[in-house]
């Protein structure tokens, strides 16, 4: 079990889309992809539009998400997003999110 030490949840308001163990997760953050492995530092980041890829041992699972946020803490990865599905989101949602995220700047935190 040491191999797959991440517990991953992809949650939308309507349902829990994915819940399980994984070796790694690649998620579309607001400014680019982030990869998360075991032992990642605690992190909260906004999500953009794209695909979350959950690597479980042999296989991988992909979910489309748009917006929301990603929280990593103590090898628990939680993606909270208002859109999560096997289907890609509508194009206008993606476009709106892209333009919103382009206006954000990474000024760091006080």
């Amino acid at each position: 079990m040491a191999e797959s030490a991440l517990s991953v949840r992809v949650v939308s308001p309507e349902r829990t889309v994915f819940e399980g163990e994984a070796r790694g997760v690649v998620a579309p953050a607001w400014d680019g992809l982030v990869g998360i492995l075991r032992g990642h530092a605690p992190m909260i980041t906004l999500l953009g539009a794209g695909q979350i890829v959950v690597h479980t041992g042999s296989a991988e699972q992909t979910f489309h998400v748009a917006g929301g946020l990603l929280k990593v803490e103590a090898d628990q990865v939680t993606a909270l997003t208002e859109y999560a599905s096997e289907e890609p989101p509508p194009a206008d949602v993606v476009a709106r999110l892209r333009s919103e995220n382009a206006n954000l700047s990474d000024e760091g935190d006080s």
Binding site: R9, V11, S12, P13, E14, R15, T16, A29, W30, D31, A41, P42, M43, I44, T45, L46, G67, G68, L69, K71, E73, T78, L80, E82, E100, L104, S105, D106, E107, G108, D109, S110
Partner: protein, 286 residues
């Protein structure tokens, strides 16, 4: 003879009504099952989201966000009533409307201007009838409320709160305790009660800044609060309908029993009378 036929007609009509209420009860039961599943499915997101919001909240950030402003003086308040589009669910809608009236009375008693927003045809119809002006009315929420429904209702209220047009938003909705118990509750949607401000922000890598994350997350948080209220309401409505239809079916059964008994008595009385007449007639011939 006339009485017998009349009772027979009533028996048939009550029987038909019973068939209808029993069907409605079964429909409500199956919808209730699905609705409670949705209530349960909504919990993980809501819990995780409030966890994040509380974690990031700090008093200094609160000043940056209009959503978090705590008005010193409350002058104008929005009351949002969430109720059902359909009746036949016992006192469900009536309870919600009564609670709303109570809240409005209390607020207006304190000299606060109240604007009323209603989602659900039954509430709209009531306040129309009473001649009360509705700021917004929404008929579009179905048996399975979606996040879009919540956004359509919550976002305008949030924006107006941010712009300072209203100082608070209260939501009247049904709390789904069990299928049998769905009491109306009033909760404050805005201003958000900031919590203790644990400010665990230091413990995380934040990207982008906590202000930017909160800026995107708070609207989603408000939307989600309304979404949960809608989902609970939908479940409560089905629960109330099932209870109401069950007792209607039971009552119809009881009524059928009494009617059948009356019918039999009338029929026997008729027969007895006929026999008596025949016997009387025969005796007269001898």
């Amino acid at each position: 003879m006339a009485k017998e036929r009349e009772i027979k007609r009533r028996i048939r009509s009550v029987g038909n009504t019973q068939k209808i209420t029993r069907t409605m009860e079964m429909v409500a039961t199956s919808k209730l099952k699905r609705a409670t599943d949705r209530v349960r499915a909504a919990r993980p997101y809501a819990d995780a989201l409030s966890d994040v919001v509380e974690g990031l909240y700090s008093p200094s950030l609160a000043e940056q966000f209009p959503v978090l402003r705590q008005p010193a003086e409350v002058q104008r308040v929005a009351v949002l009533l969430l109720c059902a589009n359909r009746g036949f669910c016992g006192a469900f809608n009536a309870n919600l409307i009564r609670e709303t009236l109570r809240v409005i009375d209390r607020l207006e008693g304190d000299g606060v201007a109240v604007e009323l927003h209603v989602a659900g045809k039954k509430g709209i119809a009531y306040f129309r009838f009473r001649g009360r002006e509705l700021m917004t009315s929404d008929r579009g929420v179905g048996d399975q409320p979606t996040l879009e429904d919540a956004g359509r209702i919550a976002d305008p209220l949030r924006e107006r709160f941010e712009q300072g047009e209203i100082d608070a938003v209260h939501v009247v909705s049904a709390e789904f305790r069990t299928a049998m118990s769905t009491p109306p509750v009033t909760s404050q949607l805005l201003p958000l009660s900031g919590g203790q401000g644990r400010s665990a922000a230091d413990a995380y890598i934040l990207s982008p800044s906590s202000a930017a994350i909160l800026g995107k997350t708070l609207p989603a948080y408000v939307r989600n609060r309304v979404y949960r209220a809608l989902v609970e309401n939908a479940a409560g409505e089905q629960g109330a309908r099932r209870t109401a239809m069950k007792s209607a079916t039971d009552n119809a059964g009881e009524m059928l029993e009494t009617l059948t008994r009356t019918y039999n008595r009338a029929r026997q009385a008729q027969i007895t009378q006929e026999i008596a007449e025949i016997v009387g007639g025969a005796a007269a011939l001898e």
